[in-house]
Symmetry: C2
Subunit: 242 residues, 2 copies
């Protein structure tokens, strides 16, 4: 049985201010929850339909039915379980290898997809400007498919961060150099911009390498690629040259 | 003023069966509607707030207010206009150059993103298995950002289509050859699979070139890339070698 207070606390975690206050976030679905349970995240509490999990300490485990899950889920259809995890303290970004930096990426699906991409390409550090969507937003957590446990995500003033780095800073711009023909360094910060406005002026002046993904269509109308799609192509290109 | 019948017809177009019956689909938002107006699509009717469009024939133009738009929109927040367009007859797929084929891709956002990618990379033909989400689904139309007017999308029995082609058929599989090291042909069909299950067995046996995107992460846990993300990397790799 879920108490009214429990329901209120859990649904409150859909909002950033309560996630900050309680230092908790939640994930849903067997696959994602299993991945997070086997990661370095600390379980706070698991609410699940019977039969899916074993070995969870008694004081962190509550069996619920579908009707109860419906009261706490952030999904249209609950996915058998919902787990609360502690939000870990931020770890400083290592200034070596490839780092991805996001300038004001707002869409939860895009952030989730980019985290999954970083994980695939072995990129351990993702720096987000303070304006980016929160990584512990339930839609981001779902979109990462568990990759959230393997990428270090840090929020910061991006301009200040880029101003102090000694790594080359790569930004994507329409007038940039053809990424397929450029020599790409094995160390650097790859900046991806906002969905509607791209990289902001304040960040642009801090990019010392301007790159572009060439357009192959014979029309000039194709406006741009989605930020996650562009990110996939750029990371692939950096990593294939390693 | 919108009549009850108009509202019923337009909202009905959110369902495939009514789109088929009326041979109409709709798009929303100034940018997407403008792109479709300047394309080969034939406008059936434009419903818009005042001041956004000029030169639309009187009999195809209705001014509405936000409250009326709310009654017909498929979006959470209406975007100033909604336009009905005629669904064109399907054009046969040209069996030359690069063709993308989708095996049971269900998510509207993924199909929309893949259409935008085809447009970017100059791929004119996209073959969808009959199980794929409908290209005129409002969520797909929005996600294409206008690219829907520049890519020929055809629905067919994918196994029958692949069985008769003389082009090489590329499929992505875990045990495939490293795509970065493969010689990729400038002509061929690139098959992308279902979000959860990948390429189906019936289609797999028709793939005569097995490729893979190598994993760079030092963990074996990263399960897979999203189909649109994988598509971005594969198309980039084919086109950079052209």
């Amino acid at each position: 049985m879920l108490s009214k207070n429990q329901i209120k606390t859990i649904t409150g975690l859909q909002q950033k201010k309560y996630r900050k206050q309680y230092k908790l976030f939640f994930a849903e679905g067997i696959k994602v929850v299993e991945e997070l349970l086997s990661s370095s995240f600390t379980l706070s509490h698991l609410y699940t339909e019977p039969g899916y999990f074993t070995g969870i300490p008694h004081n962190k485990y509550t069996e619920v039915n579908e009707a109860e899950l419906k009261k706490i889920t952030a999904l249209t259809t609950p996915q058998h379980c919902l787990a609360l995890f502690e939000i870990p303290d931020e770890v400083a970004v290592s200034q070596s290898g490839l780092v991805v930096a996001l300038d004001d990426v707002r869409d939860p699906g895009n952030l989730g997809t980019i985290i999954r991409l970083c994980d695939w390409f072995g990129i351990e550090n993702l720096v987000c400007s303070d304006e980016c969507v929160d990584v512990y937003n339930p839609k981001v957590v779902q979109a990462t498919m568990g990759s959230i446990s393997r990428v270090n995500v840090v929020y910061t003033n991006l301009e200040a961060f880029l101003a102090q780095t000694s790594l080359p800073v790569y930004g994507t711009f329409m007038d940039g150099a053809n990424i397929y023909k450029e020599t790409l360094k094995p160390e650097g910060i790859i900046v991806l911009g906002n969905e509607a406005n791209g990289i902001s002026v304040g960040v642009e002046v801090l990019c010392n390498e301007r790159i572009a993904i060439p357009r192959f269509g014979n029309t000039q109308q194709t406006e741009s690629l989605n930020v996650a799609t562009a990110g996939a192509i750029i990371l692939s290109e950096f990593c294939r040259k390693l």
